[in-house]
């Protein structure tokens, strides 16, 4: 069953095979590079257009892919050690209970509109990201908790005050959502941040032009001299610029890349990796170090309110089979709620075994008995669940189809829904319609687990107290208490211990079935050198250079 399944999924292959049958010598590829400039322009194929470049919206990869080139942050998270290192801030101090943070800024840094990156500008950025701006519709950033106010000590010293201990804030200053932008940009209402030309950062590249939904042209800033130390030398980029072109259709994006029409491409599916490597190009699988690609339950729905049912479905899931069938070695099997290279990871592999016999016993105990037709019922009601395909997740639909086949064997029905974006949003807010949700959140800080599960954040379990008005009663004060602690523990060791308790709690209650550690997979041609990624897998073209074709 493995091969036919793959063949159906691989949209570009049958045609490529057809093309390969025709013996025709290929001339040298036409490259869209700027021959006049020393470094050339790197052509980057994106899967989706950016939506909004307000930095806190940078979690969406197409947004983050632009923000990572045009903005700098106060700090840089070392991609090897995950330590926080200086960037625009040359140093900082934190008080004992993590409520006051003082940053010293690097002198001479300017935004591309010429205004200085000084304490006042940084304070304005954090006031906006920390509290939002209602008049301009700018929401607060999910990585900044308990923010109270800023204080400009002198032109190069800025201090931030928090109402509660906020140990995650320092790492929060390094993430894509904390990109610094000029005061002129911060005066724009949220709507205007859709136009990339409105977003003025201090980064190594500057937006020159955009065609909405189609392309963004970035040019190198020649006077840039303040890159993070890990990416030294800190001078301007060696590229002349980066041209980002949106090609939503997978077979065209990957086909054009392989045909040599572009230098770099995002969102390479596992089934295309082999032909890219065979062609002599490079696959970059960047870890996202956050909450794993998982199927989570909404216990407000009575069908999955019983932890035995949720645990039964966890054990009815043959995760290695899913990985073998659909994914590549770049997709490591999940061993906990968070990735193995995330901070505070605890190995729970023993709790995540495939054991259909155990699944059957748990379902029997919960009162769901197998009917003669092969489906489980309780009081005449079938155990029939539904989940929406999650378009941002790699091969979400195929993964869920395979899951449905596996659950079918223990008598549980899973229907995969798809619909318009509005339909998906509405259904996913209603636990009665979607007792399951396909989720993933990337961020290299223990706070990421709170981002995913806390009711007023992404609320993947749909607890009471979040955005949904359909939740009747489900709330887990114990889990939320632990999440609060993770977000406010000032002692790093205590914080990691609490994070361990959160992972154990989520898995013991069967809230989540972690499937794999989600990578961001890119393809780069042989002429792309020194490609880097920030801590959660967004491309950083700052150090990149192109060999002559």
């Amino acid at each position: 069953m493995l091969h036919p399944f793959r063949a159906v999924l691989s949209s570009s292959r049958p045609v490529l095979a057809l093309a390969a049958c025709m013996a025709f010598h290929a001339p040298a590829p036409a490259r869209a590079t700027d021959a006049a400039s020393p470094g050339g322009t790197l052509l980057y194929l994106e899967k989706q257009p950016h939506k909004n470049l307000y930095p806190p919206a940078g979690g969406f990869y197409p947004n983050g892919g632009i923000l990572a080139q045009i903005t700098d942050r106060l700090t840089w998270q070392n991609t090897d050690t995950l330590k926080i290192e200086p960037w625009i801030a040359t140093g900082w101090s934190v008080n004992a209970d993590s409520t006051v943070f003082t940053f010293t800024l690097r002198p001479g840094v300017t935004f591309s509109d010429g205004t200085p990156v000084d304490a006042a500008a940084v304070a304005l950025n954090y006031d906006t990201f920390g509290k939002g701006n209602r008049a301009l519709h700018l929401p607060p950033s999910e990585v900044i908790n308990n923010y109270e106010r800023s204080e400009v000590i002198d032109p190069l010293t800025v201090r931030f005050y928090f109402s509660k201990p906020s140990p995650g804030f320092l790492q929060g200053t390094s993430v894509i959502g904390s990109g610094l932008v000029s005061p002129a940009s911060l005066r724009r209402p949220l709507d205007e941040w859709g136009d990339a030309r409105h977003v003025i950062g201090s980064g190594p590249f500057v937006v020159r032009d955009e065609v909405p939904g189609k392309s963004v042209d970035l040019v190198t800033r020649p006077d840039y001299a303040w890159g993070p130390e890990q990416l030294a030398p800190q001078g301007p980029s060696r590229l002349a610029g980066v041209r980002i072109i949106v090609v939503p259709e997978d077979s065209i994006r990957i086909g054009a890349f392989i045909a040599g029409q572009a230098d770099f491409a995002r969102a390479v599916e596992a089934y295309d990796e082999e032909q890219i490597i065979r062609h002599g190009d490079t696959i970059y699988a960047a870890s996202t170090r956050g909450v794993n690609n998982s199927v989570v339950f909404r216990p407000d729905n009575p069908l999955v309110a019983d932890p035995r049912v949720r645990l039964a479905l966890l054990h009815a899931t043959d995760r290695p089979d899913i990985l073998r069938t659909l994914y590549s070695p770049n997709y490591p099997l999940a061993r906990s709620v968070i990735a193995a290279d995330a901070q505070g990871f605890v190995d729970h592999a023993a709790d995540l075994t495939y054991d259909p016999a155990l699944a059957g016993r748990l379902l029997d105990e919960a009162g769901w008995t197998m009917a003669p037709d092969g489906w489980r019922r309780r009081n005449g009601v079938a155990l029939a669940l539904a989940v929406h395909e999650a378009l941002p997740q790699p091969q979400s639909r195929s993964m869920l189809v395979l899951l449905a086949q596996q659950w079918r064997r223990v008598g549980v029905r899973l229907t995969i829904l798809s619909g318009s974006p509005a339909m998906t949003v509405l259904d996913n807010l209603n636990p009665a319609v979607t007792p399951l949700f396909h989720a993933e959140v990337g961020r290299a800080d223990p706070d990421v687990i709170k981002s995913a599960f806390y009711p007023t954040n992404r609320n993947v379990l749909l607890q009471k107290g979040g955005q949904s008005r359909h939740v009747e009663h489900f709330v887990d004060p114990e889990l939320n208490g632990l999440l609060d602690q993770v977000a406010s523990d000032t002692d790093p060791a205590t914080r990691l211990a609490d994070l361990a308790r959160v992972q154990a709690d989520i898995l013991a209650k069967g809230y989540s079935i972690p499937i794999f550690e989600e990578p961001q997979v890119y393809a780069g041609s042989a002429r792309v050198h020194d490609m880097r990624f920030e801590a959660v897998g967004r491309p950083v073209f700052y150090r990149t250079w192109l060999a002559r074709p």
Binding site: K51, K214, I252, Q261
Partner: protein, 315 residues
Amino acid sequence: MTRYILSRAAQALLVLWGAFTLSFVLLQVMPGDAVLIKFQDPELGLSPQQISDIRASYGADESAFVQYAHVLGRTLAGQLGYSIETGVPVSRMLHAAYPTTLRLAVVSFGGAIMLAASFATAALLAPLRPLRAALRLVPGLASGIPVFWLEIVAIQLVSFHWKLVPVVGVSGWAAAVLPGLALAIPISAPLTQVFLSAAERVMAQPFIDVLRARGASPLRILYAHVLPNALPPTLTISGLVFGEILAGAVVTETVFGLDGLGQLAQQAVANQDVAVLQAIILISVAGFVVINFTVDALHPLIDPRIRRTQAGGAA
């Protein structure tokens, strides 16, 4: 003639208003709206209070009638509004998108005419009756090929395998050639079919036999005598083909990743971006009306019989 133009213009306005209203109704009955799609994205992390503030500022929770009155009033005042999804004025999006679709339309229509002309010539003049009959089946088959499949094969062969033209990073006319020619194939099919059947009717008429008996070459008979007589129905069809080009543009621009009106329309539907979609609908309907009006106006120029009837009617 003035009265004729006025009544056509009045009809056109009615059609425009109908399309405008219908599109509004259709988007209203879909669940959710553009504001919800954009702002209830969990990645933005907005609180329920913030979302309701934003909804209020967009008037997203007003009654459908109030919203309709608002967009109609705004449109009548010549304002196309803002895209909720991208926050960019709709007029700017249209301005960026229309040249791509226009070039696609020109290449595909021009290509379709050339394809139809050469194919019809071959089908009418080929030696051997079975060959002519077989050729006559081809347009029907061609119109049955799904455009997206044809285009994917064209990209894989022409661009990726033979490397004749790149599909990414090109702009202007260069970007229109491959998609335009691919789209020309299904579009040429109805043109060929209508022209062939009209040409056959003409060729069955006695004056063709007379011409043949007087020694005129088959090619001369076809171009000098059959063509002018078979052209009017083909012209009528070519007006309708414009609609097919617009529909084809949605698919073609998506497959080729072109930034034209078709892709804009497809995204506007997905995001329920009412202002964008309505502007595109207005443009498309206006284009359709103008083209069909032009076709009607051209008829008397190429067909003396219509000219005579109109003159007779006016007398």
